[in-house]
């Protein structure tokens, strides 16, 4: 037994991650140096960037992280070294960009390459794996998310990354970025709120009336199968008709394009997870509990609010989590029909073949979706933890 414990087994996920990281570093460009935003650009491997000090430090930390991932059992130590490595990676891409930018040039663009993104993802996965192994309490996970977000904003506001292409795109669009960020969040959270207000009662009704259940759930599933792009398009016609023929509708802002069809489409997609999870959650309540409650003289309303809803709540919250993450992603498509949001940058970037602009829309969208998933998972776990 002593021999087997002395020869430590390699962590399988670690091997895959380290191999991926090495391959990406060796084969994929760390950065593209472009003369302007739509030029093809000159790919540079990380190894070609020696002997810049930041690259040397980054390489040293990458080696340490790889070693820690493969051989270190202590998750806390792995978390620390990987976090340090992540910081070095972000600093390095900023410093390398600054170094590569010709002095005084405003048109040159430094775009992170595949090597950077793979390293970023690999280190991110090493960090999240370490966090999972540490088994943090739900609220601690939110605190960790806040800490990493603070780290990100610190490096963004320090000016360290200002030479990076995505930041150059940002600097020329800062006011618009803020507007689109707000409208993106408003669309996602607004459609979620409307879907909850409509979906909860509908779910309860479906639970009480089994005949209604089949019809409603099948109808909502059907909506879910319509491609989002098509649904946005389908809504333009009736809403446009409504706006031109019913003055009141136009007055409250209903138009064929813009917020109204975006919101309606998002709500339609959001209804199925909420209604279905409400039904499943209520079905999961032990019938004998409901029978005892009725037998003791609780009114129907008291059973619903005091027994059924609290017991079904964790399942309903799982539905809300699905909806929020889905909506944050789907809002990007709403930009096509004038709904606003980060999708604006994505579609503008696609139209101009400016990938940096696409990233300016995609990166914050992924960040919002990821953050909301972590936060809602923590809420769900803390509710389950206190009930079980």
């Amino acid at each position: 037994m002593e021999e087997t414990s002395a020869v430590r087994r390699l962590d399988r996920l670690g091997v895959v991650l380290v191999a991926g990281g090495i391959a990406a570093t060796a084969l994929m460009p760390f950065i593209y140096v472009k003369a302007n935003r739509i030029a093809a650009g000159k790919p540079m491997l990380l190894t070609q960037l020696f002997p810049q000090p930041s690259v040397i430090i980054l390489t040293a930390l990458l080696l340490h992280t790889a070693f820690a991932t493969l051989f270190l059992r202590n998750a806390l130590a792995r978390l620390a070294i990987a976090t340090l490595c992540l910081a070095a990676l972000i600093a390095a891409i900023g410093l390398v960009s600054t170094a590569a930018t010709p002095p005084g040039s405003t048109v040159a663009r430094m775009t992170p390459g595949g090597g950077f993104w793979v390293l970023f993802a690999v280190i991110g996965l090493i960090i999240s794996d370490a966090l999972v192994k540490i088994r943090l309490a739900p609220w601690m996970r939110v605190a960790v998310l806040a800490a990493y977000t603070a780290l990100l904003f610190l490096s963004l506001s320090s000016g360290l990354l200002d030479s990076l292409s995505i930041m150059k795109e940002f600097s020329t669009r800062a006011p618009q970025f803020r507007t689109e960020a707000i409208s993106h969040l408003l669309l996602a959270l607004g459609s979620l709120a409307i879907a909850i207000v409509l979906g909860l009662p509908l779910g309860i009704l479906c639970f009480w009336v089994p005949k209604l259940r089949a019809v409603v759930l099948q109808g909502l599933s059907l909506i879910q199968t319509i491609p989002s792009l098509a649904l946005f398009g389908l809504l333009m016609l009736p809403l446009g008709y409504l706006a031109t023929h019913v003055p009141l509708a136009a007055d409250i802002g209903v138009r064929g394009i813009g917020t109204a069809p975006s919101l309606i489409a998002l709500v339609l997609y959001s209804l199925l997870p909420i209604v279905a999870n409400t039904v499943v959650g209520l079905q999961g309540v032990d019938p004998s509990v409901r029978d005892a409650a009725a037998g003791m003289g609780l009114t129907r309303r008291q059973i619903l609010t005091g027994i059924d809803m609290p017991l079904a709540f964790p399942v309903i919250l799982t539905g809300i989590r699905i909806v929020l993450v889905q909506a944050i992603g789907m809002v990007t498509i709403a930009a096509l029909i004038g709904g606003g949001g980060f999708g604006i940058f994505i579609f503008q970037g696609l139209g101009q073949t400016a990938m940096d602009l696409v990233l300016l829309g995609a990166v914050p969208t992924v960040f919002f979706a990821f953050s909301s998933a972590v936060i809602l998972d923590a809420v769900i776990d803390s509710i389950r933890g206190s009930a079980a």
Binding site: S288, L311, A387, A388
Partner: protein
């Protein structure tokens, strides 16, 4: 005094008649056990008393009042209700579970706390340990006791129990049955209990109501059910192989003993049933034994031949 009067009650679901023109009375302060096979309509009959099942035809009176005339939540809050698998609220503590009906009745918090503590003590659950636990942290027997405590929380005069001990293992079930008898004696609560277990019916019931296919076949004392079965089905349900022993288990030794005699080497307590006395005398190998009261003073005697005579069909 009559606590419950059931008059010609029928329950139909579409074409199926689940309870068929049942009439019976329940005396105040007694335990009535409704027994029958599954699908006999016994649970349905009981659930019509607190209107969990709407009555199709007929009338039920509780304390002289037609249940239809009482608002349904008010009716149910006055009647204790305990079911198989306890039905405790998993998201509420033991104390909160027990406080359910008193809270619905707007008792003040001091009175509720006092009552919860009293009931936990009564069911041998230390309030300091158990009041703040959640149901899933309790054993099956403890959950069942909390379920009955909750049903008794608002001091109901009537307690309905639907197979309350069905989920317990035999040892804990016997203990739970004895607890119920002790608490029923203390509060004088009228109890209606539904079961499919004939032994449980004989053990607990002052009266036994036998149901089959929606019909009430017989409602009588356990002795009458045994000695004068109204129907072949009743006889089959009580079993024929150990009728004598079942009958003797219902008869107390105290009422059948002969005058005290001197010179008897072996003594039995007078609290035994004839069946237990017989079993004890067979085991000890004695033909005659003295009978003692609680203070071990001789109050009578019993002989084997007298016992065998008492077990004979009347």
């Amino acid at each position: 005094m009559t606590m419950i009067e059931i008059r010609n009650v029928t329950k139909r679901y579409g074409a199926a008649t689940v309870v068929d023109k049942v009439s019976m009375c329940v005396e105040k302060g007694s335990i009535t056990v409704i027994v029958g096979t599954s699908g006999s309509g016994k649970s349905t009959l009981m659930r019509m008393i607190n209107r969990l099942v709407p009555i199709t035809e007929g009338e039920i009176f509780v304390g002289g009042q037609n249940v239809i005339d009482v608002p349904v939540t008010e009716l149910r809050r006055k009647i204790g209700y305990a079911i198989q698998g306890h039905g405790l609220f998993p998201h509420r503590t033991v104390a909160q579970n027990i406080a359910t009906v008193p809270q619905l009745l707007d008792w003040d918090s001091v009175r509720i706390a006092k009552r919860v503590e009293e009931l936990l003590g009564l069911f041998n659950l230390d309030p300091a340990t158990f009041a703040d636990k959640y149901p899933h942290q309790l054993s099956g027997g403890q959950q069942q006791r909390v379920g009955v405590a909750r049903a008794l929380a608002a001091e109901p005069e009537l307690l309905l129990m639907d197979e309350p001990f069905g989920a317990l293992d035999p040892v804990i079930r016997g203990k739970a049955q004895d607890d119920l008898l002790a608490i029923q004696k203390q509060f004088g609560t009228t109890v209606i209990l539904v079961t499919h277990d004939m032994d449980e019916a004989f053990h607990l019931g002052n009266h036994i109501a036998v149901m089959s296919q929606g019909k009430l076949l017989q409602c009588s004392t356990p002795e009458k059910i045994l000695t004068e079965p109204a129907d072949p089905f009743v006889q089959q349900l009580t079993g024929t192989s150990d009728r004598a022993l079942k009958l003797m288990s219902l008869l107390p030794l105290k009422e059948s003993m002969e005058p005290a005699k001197s010179g008897l080497a072996y003594a039995l307590p007078q609290s035994l049933s004839l069946r237990d006395a017989l079993a004890e005398m067979i085991w000890q190998g004695v033909d005659e034994a003295a009978v003692q009261d609680g203070e071990k003073a001789p109050v009578g005697s019993i002989s084997m031949s007298r016992l065998l005579e008492l077990g004979r069909k009347a």
